[in-house]
Symmetry: D2
Subunit: 221 residues, 4 copies
């Protein structure tokens, strides 16, 4: 993901069967295997926004991404986070420098921007100037820490392009909500890439649920 | 559990290692196996009420219990529920009749009750009279439904001693909160039995975390 | 509400202005009064499912309703509840008896029922039979409690038609979610009446937000 | 607050009476005014960790603080946030420069640091070097934006010492949890100042609840 990041599925308790059984408990029924009719039930639940049957599962992700991506991610309150701490540990010196193709300009109005690539020279300038700020900031950070300034204070210099790392544990309902917002066209390109990776890992574990989600225009139930 | 109930662990993604790794991500560290020092870390997290590392796991329970027990259970908002519906399906004719030893009297003041057994005759009367109400209620329910009254309305006659059934998916932090409140001396005996069963299943999956919880007087972090 | 219930707005911190200001903080702007353009902003937020600006307000309701209504209500996890306790206090002897017009039969399939009135005789039978169960149950409850049986146990006899009472504190976003599900055609008639009352009290405090909600087919953002 | 920040109470629905009435609804009782006995009830609820009666109120704060403070704040999931967006609006050029007395060194081990002031020269160096990074970063940001680079990308250069602004709406129970963690000795000094301000505003609105919280060693119920 991006230049120094990743999304890794660290653990999961997730299958399509749990959706069906938690929905069927309404009728006091339970099955051990999915039948063809069950895909229809899952599509029905998704379409009618019966959300709770999609909560009886869990995905634990290990993520590395820039701070500005993590800041958007942590706005999602249904789910659990533990993150790298710049109070307790030394800041990483990995910073996000966009690929030339990802340096872009914005067109249109807030809430409805679209983005277009910039010409090659500006792309290169952007990369160089970001690197220069990152280096200045990190050298300052290191020098202050070496001289004895507390890490929690010296970190004020660190740009939001710095990478951080965290665990995120979430159920499929909240995951779909995340994907619906963060893999959308209106989302920032950098978090979109992560959201798309999250979606692929979700699709592997719960293919029928994922297909119903896609059929529902990726609107979360 | 009780006369017609159960608690069954339907699925889990839970071990002590995930507590350690989600705590250690603060320092950017990760291990593949627990070492002896890690038990100390888990005790530290529990004692200092660092709660989030206990959230990166998941337990899915399948439960059958009386309605008055379920009503207390569903007050726990962190977690997911899907329940049997008396709108969609016919009510069960299983009702809770306490064992003679469980028929009890209350002593003391609200919020600080204690309970003592009643004499054998009153215990038997209680069981008989509850059964008589249950039978009258259920016969009425069945007769009304047969005559065409909507189930969702006929159910108004069903006493809260009736059994219901549900799935409950929850992480260890919320599970410990549930146990700390519902396995406590002040909790009602019937839900206590369920909370103790939940605790045993939790202890099997996360023995070190459970030991730290017990050492901490079963106060949830 | 129904025969012995009510919904009362006990307190509120709620206006349309807070929606606008919490949305505008994205741009670092703040106004003291609503302008005409702001209604458009509120409609935009609702339509595009930007939900968080609708959370910066609070409604505290005091509600009295049958247990089977409360059981549906308490499934809404975003919000706060405190309820009358049949462990601590003596159960009420108010029970729900539907008006003759509200005695109904169900037609169609689970998840897609429709309801039609029953003939007058069955309506009367239903009311009489429910009353008979309620009386039997309540007399049993009282007799057991008088003889010393703990309230928490004697309550097992109480039917879910019994009234309970609670406080519910909730923000407009969760309130709209409640109304979208519980004032819907698929909701049970009894909770629908409550949801409609909640909606009217909401509309008084936040008329522009409410109008946008209605224009959006009562789909919560 | 700090050099360019503030905490402002933008609205509240909060008094001690609502704690008492939501607790007393357990017994079906309600009062219009607090009596002397009620302070005892509030202390009892706090001590015994009956948390829900403290949720029937709401505080809306308007806050301006550095990004590294906001990052800690937003970890508190029970509550609502809307924040200034560097995707939609131009980043502020206000950055946190600590007062000389606040430049500090850390002593001891992670999780149990203590902090001591540094000598005057290092304090001055720290301030100067942070300012130099901030200026370099902000000039770069402005130059890139002027040349057409999208704001959402150019912001990667902005250090976490930059100020942001948000609304936070929260109930007293979650507010006390925030204060217990963020006004503690182990919390970072900068967020502590904000937490102390939040606590003062809370104490004005709910003095009896606040006194019970203090008497309980600021442990949230």
């Amino acid at each position: 993901m991006l230049d120094h990041g990743f999304v890794r599925l660290d653990g999961a308790m997730a299958d399509d069967l749990s959706v069906v059984n938690s929905a069927r408990v309404s009728f006091g029924r339970r099955v051990d295997e999915l039948s063809d009719a069950d895909a229809g039930l899952i599509r029905f639940l998704m379409r009618e926004r019966h959300g709770t049957p999609f909560e009886h599962n869990s995905f634990r992700f290990h993520v590395r991404c820039p701070l500005f991506v993590a800041r958007e991610w942590f706005r999602h309150r249904v789910g659990s986070f533990n993150e790298f701490s710049m109070r307790y540990a030394k800041a990483t010196d990995d910073f996000y420098v966009p690929e030339p193709d990802d340096v872009r300009t914005q067109v249109g109005k807030p809430g409805a921007y679209s983005f277009e690539p910039v010409h090659a020279e500006l792309a290169q300038t952007t990369r160089d100037e970001l690197r220069a700020v990152y280096e200045h900031a990190y050298e300052t950070y290191e020098r202050l820490v070496e001289q004895g300034v507390a890490r929690e204070l010296a970190r004020a210099a660190i740009p939001v392009g710095a990478y951080t790392e965290f665990y995120w544990t979430v159920n499929a309902r909240a995951l779909m909500n995340f994907v619906s917002l963060r893999a959308a066209e209106t989302a920032q390109r950098e978090i979109r890439r992560y959201a798309e990776a999250v979606e692929r890992l979700f699709a592997e574990k719960m293919p029928i649920t994922h297909a119903a989600f896609v059929a529902n225009d990726r609107t979360a139930p």
